[in-house]
């Protein structure tokens, strides 16, 4: 079982959390001007990378709050977790400093 660091509560076991999918997908600012293809891309298409993935998690059985995480989808190793309004981290820098 994974240990996940909630930015508000600290390290807790994986079963306290719910995965929330890819992070940093902003809702379109002008919905009426989007084409069908752009809507489909927003609603359905996902990066689904093999490697570093920026994703949302929610501490459902804890503080209940959403936060973001960077995880390696090959090893399931968490590189960092951060609050929703923190800036998107630089993946290249994170990968270089990755503990193994």
């Amino acid at each position: 079982m994974l240990l996940i660091r909630c930015p508000f509560c600290g390290e807790r076991s994986e079963i306290e959390f719910r995965h929330g999918g890819e992070a940093h997908i902003p809702r379109p600012l002008k919905p009426a001007s989007l084409s069908d293809a752009e809507w489909a891309d927003y609603l359905y298409n996902r990066a689904n990378p093999k490697g570093l993935h920026i994703e949302r998690w929610r501490h459902v059985h804890g503080c209940g709050r959403f936060f973001n995480a960077v995880r390696d989808t090959v090893s399931d190793f968490f590189l960092t977790t951060y609050k929703l309004d923190d800036p998107r981290p630089d993946l290249g820098q994170l990968a270089n400093g990755q503990r193994r």
Binding site: E14, H19, A37
Partner: protein, 416 residues
């Protein structure tokens, strides 16, 4: 060599030491008419039907590991076609009809065993949904019948139908034509069949890039064994589809999750059918070797790790132990994970892509094995004629843009 009683007797006379290899191990040629990426059941079936039904034999199937080593060798081998929507019923029943004659077709015993698939209802909602399935299936010519708890117990004696368990059995939907098959034999049978028709199956050959010409159409794949030119490329890469399609600059409506399964120690025949419980995620049958084959729901987060978390397996075991108390003291031999590519509507994507010459067959999620023959059959037709077969036309990539989803996610009432 054709397998028959005669060939068996002849090989027996010489101590079974002269059976020929079932397929060649060719070096990749510089160019093929069609390259299939992924030598699982679906990819091998595609190559087989390309050669058999469309006369396209200059085909290579590229596999990064060994053939049938991905989800084909990792699933729980359940075969059924009782899906709700017309489009799904058409493709899964097309596959089921092919399963029924597959051993003869391939001259290879795939051990298809239509022993019946019983799907349990545990809530009022389950009952309503399953009865709706029964009626919808009948309208589509797919067999499915409603059983009372007593009838469920008669059909599957190990089942616990006590009313005081956490999720009591309130009834079930039974598809008698459903069942199981030997998963490895399916890959091996299609591999041997395709190989005999001239298809090159190239293992340990990972695709690293897709090259396109000035018009944007596909021209070649770069692999760990060199460049291979092809004007038509069919991607059948299951959990790694997003990775391969990104090489052609395409984003896919897919997320890859680990799905775990496990087997028990082998015992004498004790379990007569396949039982599924979508509500509490427990899927069980007994293999011909005697092992109980058990599957659960997917893990909760996307991953390519092919492992998954132990608590997900424990959850499945708890459900099995409650439904089948006689298995409480069985020991489990091993568990494993496979990476499944899940679409938003839980229906597959089979067809052309925005890139000329690039075709995709993916998104089978947690239940692709049952569709193997039908999927390969219609995908081969799509590649050969550069247009979708009528059966897979609704399963296009464009359905997400056009809003015509085939929503088996909602229909299955599974807590995905």
């Amino acid at each position: 060599m054709k397998y028959s009683l005669f060939s068996l007797l002849r090989q027996a006379a010489s101590g079974h030491e002269h059976w020929p290899a079932q397929w060649r191990d060719p070096a990749p040629k510089a160019a093929y008419d069609v390259v299939i990426v992924g030598a699982g059941g679906h990819g091998l079936a595609t190559a087989y039907y390309l050669a058999k039904e469309h006369g396209i034999t200059n085909v290579a199937v590229l596999e990064k590991g060994w053939l049938g080593g991905g989800n084909t060798g990792r699933n729980t081998t359940i075969i059924r076609s009782n899906y709700l929507w017309d489009e799904s019923a058409a493709i899964y029943d097309h596959a089921l009809k092919l399963w029924e004659g597959l051993s003869q077709e391939l001259n290879y015993n795939v051990m298809f065993s239509p022993r019946g698939v019983l799907m349990l209802a545990h809530t009022i909602h389950d009952i309503q949904v399953f009865k709706r399935h029964v009626h919808a299936n009948r309208l589509n010519g797919v067999d499915n019948e409603w059983l009372t708890p007593e009838q469920c117990k008669a059909f599957c004696p190990p089942l616990n139908t006590a009313r005081d368990i956490r999720y009591p059995v309130l009834g079930g939907a039974l598809q008698r034509r459903g069942g199981v098959a030997r998963h490895d034999a399916v890959a091996w049978g299609y591999a041997r069949g395709a190989d005999r028709l001239g298809v090159d199956i190239i293992q340990n050959c990972e695709v690293t890039a897709i090259r396109r010409d000035a018009s944007g159409a596909v021209a070649a794949v770069e692999t760990t064994r060199g460049e291979i030119r092809a004007r038509k490329i069919g991607v059948v890469a299951a959990g790694h589809t997003s990775v391969i399609m990104a090489m052609a600059g395409l984003r896919m409506p897919l997320e890859s999750f680990p799905l775990q399964a496990l087997v028990s120690e082998p015992v004498k025949p004790v379990f007569p059918c396949v039982v599924m419980s979508n509500t509490i995620h427990a899927y069980i049958s007994q293999s011909d070797k005697g092992e109980l084959v058990i599957g659960g729901g997917t893990d909760v987060y996307t991953s390519y790790s092919q492992r998954g978390a132990l608590h997900a397996t424990a959850h499945t075991i708890e459900a099995i132990c409650e439904l089948f108390p006689m298995f409480r003291r069985m020991r489990m031999l091993r568990n494993w994970g496979g990476i499944v590519d899940v679409t938003p509507d839980r229906s597959p994507i089979i067809g052309k892509t925005p890139v000329a010459g690039l075709y995709v067959n993916c998104g089978w999620g947690t239940g692709g094995f049952k569709a193997t023959p039908g999927s390969g059959h219609v995908f081969a037709d799509t590649i050969a004629n550069d247009r979708p077969h009528p059966i897979n036309a609704p399963f296009s990539l464009e359905r997400f843009r056009d809003g015509v989803l085939i929503d088996e996610a909602a229909a299955a009432a599974v807590a995905h």
